[in-house]
């Protein structure tokens, strides 16, 4: 493990349309364990933002508490970040988004942070269709407190000590689909090819986008019998490859129309999904729930874009808030002045 991040960068490092290199999207050096799945996700976020030509300062990163929630320090150092309290990131993100709807909100959470202490806030941020990308770095255990089971741990999966989890797991992706999420993806930290386009699609989605990313804990939950280990997930992963074609870019690839579907995003970008199954309609909640449970029964994990609802109303649409960010308004827009107060007083006499 290295302790110092090398400052050297090749002078010919490729730049994106903003003239920025990938380095401009990096963060501080990770302090997570070597091989941690979370670091792969951070790298995928860096790639996605670099390739999407996002200005780092237009992103706000939010997180709760836990190993996963530390990671906003490891990508996009040019963005403001808020590492809040355990399980409460959704509410802080909601307030932040209400204040300024023009930023891109990326929330990072873990399975303990989201499925246990934060399950209430998670459910409600889904219901509100807050315009944000919500990534759960899901390893089935509490890493920072040394390996206790989390609520996403599968029934029958042993922890490092060998104790078998007998509780029923919470499947966050299925839960989100059930309660009205408008974009739900599942991925694997070990599958960069799928994860990067999924993150791009999630960021491009207008509304709440959940990415439940299985991200093995190399220290406490990577034994071969664990259903959240690299070995197990590699074997069980039934990945639906995902392509993301940014807006204004011509679609050149040809595809077999039966098992492939294309979804045009709100901003004109296109997500292309290579399905395993022709009957699966990713714009139908019931179909998505059936597909995930079908694979789960066979001991498989279906990954890819599981469900999407195009053209939904995000929270600002529902509330009818002004197009201009609320945090940019001053006395002139906000304060009614003394004359109105006089009329209030008159009405109270």
């Amino acid at each position: 493990m290295t302790y110092v991040k090398p400052a050297f960068r090749h002078p010919d490092a490729p730049t994106n349309e903003l003239g920025r290199t990938r380095q401009d999207y990096e963060g501080g050096l990770s302090t997570l364990c070597a091989g941690c799945g979370h670091d792969s996700i951070s790298a995928a976020i860096i790639d996605a933002c670099f390739e999407l030509n996002i200005e780092p300062h237009k992103v706000a990163k939010l997180s709760g508490i836990g190993c996963s929630s530390k990671t906003p320090a490891y990508f996009l150092s040019g963005s403001h970040s808020f590492n809040s309290v355990h399980g409460r990131m959704p509410s802080v993100a909601t307030g932040a988004n209400l204040a300024n709807r023009d930023l891109i909100y990326i929330g990072i959470s873990g399975d303990g942070d989201t499925a246990s202490i934060g399950l209430g806030q998670f459910a409600h941020v889904v219901r509100r269709n807050l315009n944000m990308t919500y990534i759960v770095e899901n390893n089935g255990c509490y890493g920072l407190t040394k390996g206790q089971d989390s609520a996403t741990m599968d029934t029958g999966s042993p922890n490092k000590k060998g104790d078998i989890n007998m509780y029923s797991p919470i499947d966050l992706a299925r839960l989100a689909i059930e309660i009205g999420a408008t974009f739900v993806g599942r991925s694997f930290s070990g599958d960069k090819q799928q994860l990067i386009p999924l993150i791009k699609a999630a960021i491009s989605h207008r509304g709440f986008a959940l990415l439940d990313v299985v991200s093995p804990c190399v220290t406490f939950n990577n034994h071969s019998e664990s259903t959240k280990s690299y070995e197990y997930v590699r074997g069980a992963n039934t990945g639906m490859p995902v392509d993301f074609v940014p807006m204004r870019q011509e679609i050149t690839a040809t595809y077999d129309s039966g098992a492939t579907c294309e979804v045009c995003m709100h901003d004109g970008s296109v997500v292309r999904l290579y399905k395993q199954d022709n009957d699966y309609d990713i714009e139908d909640r019931q179909s998505a729930l059936e597909a995930t449970s079908h694979y789960a029964k066979e001991g498989k994990i279906l990954t890819g874009l599981l469900y999407i609802q195009r053209d939904s109303e995000e929270l600002h649409d529902v509330l009818g808030t002004a197009r201009r960010p609320l945090n940019s308004m001053n006395e002139q827009q906000l304060c009614p002045g003394s004359r109105f107060l006089d009329s209030i007083n008159a009405g109270l006499r």
Binding site: H57, H80, P90, V92, N97, L103, M329, F340, N345
Partner: protein, 626 residues
Amino acid sequence: MQAKQSINDFVIKFANVNGTGSASANSMFAKAIFRMGIPVSPRNIFPSNIQGMPTWYEVRVSQDGYLGRRGGIDIMVCVNPQSIKRDVAEVEAGGYFIYDSTKPLDLRLVREDVNYIGIPFTDICLREYTDARQRLLFKNVIYVGALSALMNIDFNVLKDLVADQFKGKEKLITPNIYALELGYQYASTHFDCPIGIHLERGHRVAKHIEDFDNILMDGNTAAALGAVYAGATVAAWYPITPSTSVVDAFDKYCRRLRIDPGTGKKNYAIIQAEDELSALGMVIGANWNGARAFTATSGPGVSLMSEFLGLAYFAEVPTVLIDVQRAGPSTGMPTRTQQSDVLMAAYASHGDTKHVLLFPATPAECFSMTVEAFDLADRLQTPILIMSDLDLGMNEWMSPPLEFDDNFRYDRGKVLSAADLDEMEERFGRYKDVDGDGITYRTYPGVHPEKGAYFTRGTSRDEYAAYTEDGAEYVRNMDRLLKKFETAKAIVPEPKIKQSEMETRHGVVFFGTTASPAYEAIEILEKEGIDLDTMRIRAFPFNLDVEQFIREHDRIFVIEQNRDGQMRRLMLNETSANAKEKLIPILEYDGLPVTARKIAGMIRNYITHGNVTPLTRRASAEEETA
């Protein structure tokens, strides 16, 4: 028997069943007195229930302008047979008991020393109305009409109030005035009107209300208006009595004042959160991102919000929280008042924390302090808790009119713009104390493409917001937060101190809604030769005036509406004065607003007998003073 005689100075109480429409009739009664230019203070004493339980409305009329509760009842208007036994017992000797005489009164309820006025309200309603709902609703209007005759309320004022109340529903005006007349006619033909206790317009100018330019409004509405005027754009809340009407009123005024005329879009956002934790999280997120945001809650909500208050304190995010206190602990008495969140609010959250508290005493202060709270939050980058209570928040109070200076500009505190960042030569340090006042500079997310981004966190950090477990860095930061709290002392509202006319070494301290009955109690005692200086605390941290007041007095009575003397403890904790022996707790915590008589009784008892009346003996002591 001697009937009480009094003009413009009495207490009348209505005993009703909740959910029967009595509230608007009772409110009309109080407002009529107010419009006649006579000081009045009404209070709802209501159950945590929607329909069918006893509820009371107590109206203090005081020509001297005392707005707190006096203690004792002169006239009881009984419209609820459920509570009639205790209602009869509450009337003071010589007082009046007005009841529904449709059925004869149980002889066991007849007292020798009370004047009974029976009016067959039910009979009149049965005769006049066929619809059951109308019979129920108009009964209330009929008794107001009867009181108008009995107590000499200007009938035209009542008619105007009916017209105001039903603006837009004009069809309802005539039947309501007719119901008023039914009551008026019955009372004026059957009784000698007015009775001994009655009203006279402009009888004497109230000495405590300088010109009668007052308004009648509740504190929650005033606080909501304060938030509108302060430029709050985000409100996140969870419904809880007695704070709910704050956000209801904020919503109402925003719908009127904050809709963009061009687009019809809202220049505000209100979220009913899933719980209080989430509500405060949203407020913190919005304030972090540069919008002014607030929440309103009560004690149980503050308990839940403690975690986030600690974050806002430590991560230094401006936050405004309106705590409309009620009787705790736990669910306590949800519809009764108390001042029992003081210590919790001052130190909310684990670890070493201290929060800035404001204590409004009138609706005008609910307004002005809420406006001020947003500036203080931005300037100090910390939570500001406005400590109202049920009595102030939910009851209508006579108050000086609300005032706003159009030259007032929001003070957003130390926020760096993109231009500021460009001009800076040194590296931006979010938690670097550049000015030496403990307050550091912040930036809003998205402000600059290259500069100003930082990592906000509830973990310990260095001056550049980077995570650190270095003990020295941690201590430096914690000490800077203390320095900031010292800075706060100079900018929070100062206490109001009143010197007694005679020099005295005795003082009294109170805050919030205790002020009204306390000032009255001081005058009662003054007439008995007990002179007391007074200090109304308006904010925590205490500034030097508070320390000086403690030092300059040998005995200080600290009056508050809680069991444990929380403000007294805070004073012992947070001032340098060695005052444990000289601060005498004067406490009331039965959930009803403390009365002037009780305060006077307890202080008198201490001065003459060296002790404060124990709770069990207080009822009899109150009778002595009556």
